[in-house]
Subunit: 406 residues, 2 copies
Amino acid sequence: MGRVAVVGTGQTKFEARVPEKTYYELAFDVAKEALNEAGITHRDVDSAVYGIYNDLFERQVMPDTFVHDYLGFYGKSGTRVTTGGATGAYAFRAGYAEVASGLSDTTIVIGVEKAQDVFDWAQYKSTPEVLKSIAYSSDMTWEYPLGVQAASSYALLATAHMRKYGTTEEQAALVSVKNHGNAKNNPYAQSPMDITVEDVMKSRMISYPFKMLDCSLYTEGASAVILMSEKKVREMGISDPVWVAGIGSSNDRSFPGFRSVNDFLGNYGDIADLRGHYEAARIAYRAAGIQNPLKELDLAEIHDAFSFTEIQGYEAMGLAHPGKGGKFIEDGIPQIHGDLPVSPSGGLIGAGHAVGATGVMQIVEITKQLTGEAGKRQVEIRNGKGLAHSIGGPGSSYCTVTILEA
Amino acid sequence: MGRVAVVGTGQTKFEARVPEKTYYELAFDVAKEALNEAGITHRDVDSAVYGIYNDLFERQVMPDTFVHDYLGFYGKSGTRVTTGGATGAYAFRAGYAEVASGLSDTTIVIGVEKAQDVFDWAQYKSTPEVLKSIAYSSDMTWEYPLGVQAASSYALLATAHMRKYGTTEEQAALVSVKNHGNAKNNPYAQSPMDITVEDVMKSRMISYPFKMLDCSLYTEGASAVILMSEKKVREMGISDPVWVAGIGSSNDRSFPGFRSVNDFLGNYGDIADLRGHYEAARIAYRAAGIQNPLKELDLAEIHDAFSFTEIQGYEAMGLAHPGKGGKFIEDGIPQIHGDLPVSPSGGLIGAGHAVGATGVMQIVEITKQLTGEAGKRQVEIRNGKGLAHSIGGPGSSYCTVTILEA
C-alpha cells in the first residue's frame, strides 16, 4: 500500500461573521486555492469529503450536496462526515482512507462552517436554531436536563484536573495568552491580541473555571487540503510533498457521570485524564514510528476549545507527564520559540473555531510549517514532523491525532 | 491490497414506529446480531462507521457518540457519515475504505434512524422538528421558495421520464405491486401487502405522478454489517464470506433548474436520465469486472424512494436500455422469479426506508441472498453476484452502487 501525501492547502480568514459569503462560496475559495497550490484542476479530483458539522446553523440539511454542486464536482463521489468539534479531523481521516484504500487517487477534504446567518442581527439575539444546535449537542435523555452543555462539560473535565493535579487557573490563562499572541502572526486568525494572565483572570465568568478568555470562539470559515496517492504524486512529478505518517482515532465514552448508573458509580474512571486522547496518540505514534514525541516532533496543533483542554492535551499527547501539563506551559516549552511550539496558528482560542473547518485548518498549518511557508509564525523544522490533535463531542468523546512528515 | 469481506449482518424489523426503543438500543440490537453472526465480540472491532441521517428527528446532535458509548466501543474510532437517503450506502463506502486502507482490520457499519419520537402523538400532528427536517432538505436559497421538496423533486424527474420516453403511471404502479408483494416474504419488512395496479392508481395523490402507494415510507429501524480484511478473514478461518467486488459513487448536481440561471437555461442536460446513477454504475461495474449486468448479476436492490425511481434505476444500472425501464417491469424481468429479481426484500416501498439504515439493509439483503439465507424470498444464485443501488439528496444528487460477490 502506497503512502498518501498532502499536495495542496487552502484556507479563508477565520472570522466571527462573513455575511457576504455563503458556505458554498467559502468552500469554493479554499478549494480553488488548494487546487492551484497542487497544480491541478477540479477535473483531476476523484472524490471529495466534506466536514460540515451542523445543519441548524444554516437551516440546511445536506449542505454538502450544494457545495459539491457549486464546485462543479458533478460525477465525483462526495461524502459528508460530521463528528462535533472534531469534524474536520475525521473528514481528513475519511479522505486519507479514500486514497489509501485505492478508491481514489486524488481526494479533496473541505471543512466549512457558517454559524451566524441564523443569528437575529436586527434584535441582536440568538434564534431558536442557534440555541437548539447548541442545546441538542448534549445527550438529550440524561445530560441536558442536568445542565451539561459544551462549556460546562469541558469545565467538569478541567475541575477534575485541578483537583487531581493542582492545575491552576493561572496556568490555563498562560495558554490563552500564548494563543492570542501567536494569532498576531497569523493573517488568517480571528483573534490576535496582546493580553496578560490578569486579563484572562478578570474576564467574564462563563462556567467555572472558564472565563471568557479561556474559551475558543464562534467562527465562520473554511479550509481544504488535497490528498494524493504516492503513485499519482510520482506521475505528476510533485517533489517533496508532506506525507501522512500516522492517524489515530479513539472515541471515548460520551460525558461520564450521566449516561448510566454504572457511570455515575464511577466506572468511567478518572475524568481528569482523557483516555481516548491517550489512545489516539498511541495509535498515531505507533503508525508514525515515533517513540519520543517531545524530541521528534517539531510542532503540534492541540485542540484548545478551552485553555485547560490544551493542558490536558499536552499530557495525553505524551509531551508532558500526566499532571505536569500546567508546569509544561509555565516552563515555556510550548511557546513559539520554546522546545516544542504548540499551536503556532493561534489554535482555536487565537485563530478561531469554525467547527467543521478547524481540524482541516490544523492540517493546513502543520503542512505550511513543515514546508517552511508559515511566514512570521514559522517554527524551526529539524525532524520534519508535526502533530494535529482534534477533539469534540460531549465530554470530549471524539479524538483524532494526525502526524504529518515532510 | 487485500480484499474486504462482509462477515456478519444484523437488522431490526423496519416499522413505522418503535416507541419502546431509542436509536442506540436499536443500534445495539443489530450490532450484537452482526457480531454473533461473524463469531466475534465487540473487542475484535477496530472501528465503527455510523450512518445516521438527521439530527432533528431525534432532537439530538452527534447521536453517533451516544451509540458508540452504548455499544461499549470505548477507545475505538467512530465516524459518522450523513448523505441524505443514501446515508447507509456512503457509510458502507467509508467502512470499506477504513478496512481497505489498512486503518482497520475489522469495521462495523451501523445504519440507524428514529423519526417518530418528535412526532406529536397526543395531537397527532408533526412537530416543528419534523417539518423542518424535511423542509430544510431542499436548497433553502433557491429551491425551497419554489416548493421543491423531497416528493416534488423526484416527481419532476419522473414527469421528465414520462415525457421523454412515454413511461406510464401504470408501469410505475407495477413496481409498487411487486415490492409490496415481495415484502410478504420478508419478516423484517414494514409494508407487506397484496395490491393491484388499480389500488395504486386510486390511492391518494401526493405529488403528480406519485400517488400514496408509489411512495416509500416513514420508517424506524437499524441495520449493521461487519467488514473484515482478507488477511483477518484468513486468520479467523472464516470460510466463504461475501466479498466487496466494487463500489462506485457519483454525486450529480443537486436539483437542476433552480440552482442557477445556467441550470435554468438547461445546462444540466436532460433530467429524465440520471447521469450520476449511470456514472456510479459504470465505476462499480469496472471495479467488479462486470460487462453484462443483466446476465452476470443474480439480483439487485434498487432504491425505490418512489416507484418511478426504480424504473429510472433499471436503466441507469444498465439492466434496461434508456427509456425501456417501463417495459422491463411490464415484461416481468425484475419479479422475484424473473430473469433478474429486483428488491426481493421489498425495497423501500415494501420493506421501508429507515433513511440511515436503508443502504445498509440493502447490503444485508444481498449478503443473505448470496449465501442462501434469504428464506422464503430466496432467489436463484448462479453467478454469486448482487448489486445494491442507493440514492438520496435533492434531485437525487447522491448515488452509490455496491457490488457483492460470494
